[in-house]
Symmetry: C2
């Protein structure tokens, strides 16, 4: 059903007001705060019609109207005004992106932190991961007589390492020879190729002490398994208390339980189901959120080219979508600019 211009205006007015106030919006409120040039009775008629069409709901007979999920959807897709970030907000972002980080993970963590601070909602991100991680170099570096570090350097610039203690001491020369052989043998291999079969076949070919090989191959097989591990991390959880819906303990419990660690698999799949552009998931639109009154705005970030992940904001359905979407878009654009080239690592 196509909405008349007036209906659109009224719907937008109601949702704007409801997002701002968290109170059901009545016809006389709209009359007072918006210049529609019609009486409250007319607005009431339109509201009744919008309700029938499924865009609005009534908590009870004598309350105002509240947007339905469908209402929010129309609002997000067609009605809302664009939010422009203030100078102060832009400065805050610029400043935070200027910092140096030992690890990329720290960078994205601190970005999600800003995100939650700017929006007053909770930020979620998935830890960056590469779809393809190929080995560039493997080195065994002696630490002490009976311990060494094995370092696997990948083409995307990421590094994995483990300290290994051994029963007997190995000559530096042995370690170096093994380093050279492994680097030669596995250069260009994707880590996913480190299957038990490949490794045990390989082991036969190397004329070095079995225990040494085993410990190194254990490590390789572990990084193969870990390659797929993506964590979900939260920031600004307590921001929820800034919103009146979370003065209700039941609501708060439900929200926090949804976010808890045990549930990260579900959240991961929720995030990864979104496409390449910023997308909005409103309340019941995803069965996982059924009756939870939770919405998400999800976008994609990428660090140093090949490391990618999702950065999202989660909050009540009554969310300031305009602000969240703009901020998220701006921020991820910045990340991709700043981190994409001069920082971190990349293959050219």
């Amino acid at each position: 059903m196509e909405l008349s211009d007036r209906k659109k205006k009224i719907l937008q007015a109601i949702i704007d007001d409801y997002i701002a106030s968290a109170e059901p919006v009545g016809s006389s409120h709209i009359l007072k705060n918006h210049d529609l040039g019609v009486s409250s009775a007319t607005i009431r008629n339109e509201m009744a019609s919008l309700e029938e069409a499924g865009y609005l709901e009534k908590p009870h007979t004598s309350a105002g109207r509240v947007p339905s999920y469908l209402g929010y959807r129309v609002y997000v897709d067609q009605l809302m005004n664009e939010y422009r970030l203030s100078i102060a907000e832009i400065n805050q972002i610029t400043h935070a992106l200027g910092k140096k980080y030992i690890e990329l993970r720290r960078a994205i963590d601190s970005i999600s932190d800003i995100m939650s601070a700017l929006t007053d909602y909770t930020a979620i991100y998935t830890t960056p991961s590469s779809s393809l991680v190929t080995i560039s170099n493997i080195k065994l570096i002696a630490v002490e007589a009976r311990s060494f570090v094995v370092v696997a350097v990948c083409h995307d610039g990421s590094v994995r390492n483990r300290t290994i203690r051994t029963a007997k001491a190995y000559e530096a020369e042995v370690l170096e020879k093994l380093s050279n052989y492994l680097s030669y043998r596995f250069a260009g291999c994707d880590v996913s190729e480190f299957t038990p079969e490949v490794l045990s076949a390989e082991k036969e070919l190397i004329p070095v002490d079995g225990a040494l090989i085993d410990s190194v191959f254990d490590f390789l097989s572990d990084i193969a398994n870990e390659a797929e591990t993506v964590d979900v991390v939260l920031n600004g959880t307590t921001n929820i208390f800034k919103h009146p819906e979370f003065n209700d303990i039941g609501r708060t419990k439900e929200f926090l339980n949804f976010l808890k660690k045990d549930n990260s698999k579900m959240i991961k799949s929720l995030l990864s189901a979104t496409g390449d552009t910023t997308s909005v998931i409103i309340g019941n639109e995803n069965p996982v959120l059924k009756d939870k009154d939770i919405s998400l705005v999800v976008s994609n970030y990428s660090l140093g080219g090949s490391m990618k992940g999702k950065l999202a904001i989660i909050g009540p359905t009554r969310m300031d979508y305009a602000k969240v979407i703009s901020t998220l878009d701006y921020l991820t654009a910045c990340i991709n600019d700043v981190m994409g080239n001069d920082k971190g690592d990349d293959q050219t």
Copy 2:
């Protein structure tokens, strides 16, 4: 003031019951559930006396008694019965400690996770850190034509690394020579010695392209700064909802706000103020917790010898101290056994 045996028994009974039920305990309750051989009137008299001595409090005239902070202190130090872990609990711990971890951080994280699951409270830990980190080896490993990884291996087996991309390409030989020199020069140095002064003096001495040196020294100076960074991590935050005190939204807000990121400095100092043995901080005993009705049980863990940190449980003052202390003690003993020697791995 020394308490009579009977007073001790009554105090213990009250606190035991209160911990179990979360309801103020009345004299007739004690009469019913404990075999003290005296009437409720006598118990009432004793309770009045315990209250006067500061071990008990009354929420209001016609309610039962509730332990004061002082009461809990006496209970923890003298009165409570030891809690014995069940076979199931021990199995759970053993099983979790048997897993393999690419990183030590993962290990302690998963341990704190178990801890929170076993106790139904929130677990806190500080990330492991070494008081002294001395360099064993520094290696520059080429990734591609114009990028390399610099890896700093330390004597405690920890490794730090960074990928560096350069304007021009360097020969593998140059990188190797520089590796050798840096390893030779800095072997045995504590990372804290990487001050701007030392590094810039050193730079003069090395006959290699300045940009190359700069990028490597930047890294070294960053790890010097990061050496002191200890994070505070939480697990099982939502466990609080299992306890009736957190049916109150105000209480819940206060608790979660206390735990939030911005406050980690305070928590860190709270944890680090404890000694080498497991210690209990009850409510107001620490000014930081003033009127927050929060208690902590804090213990020390160590991974692979030199990496140490704090592992703690935080919850309402009405906490099952006996269970928490036993579980924490058992768990940290296990960590120190299992992780102390044969495992040792780390990653940036």
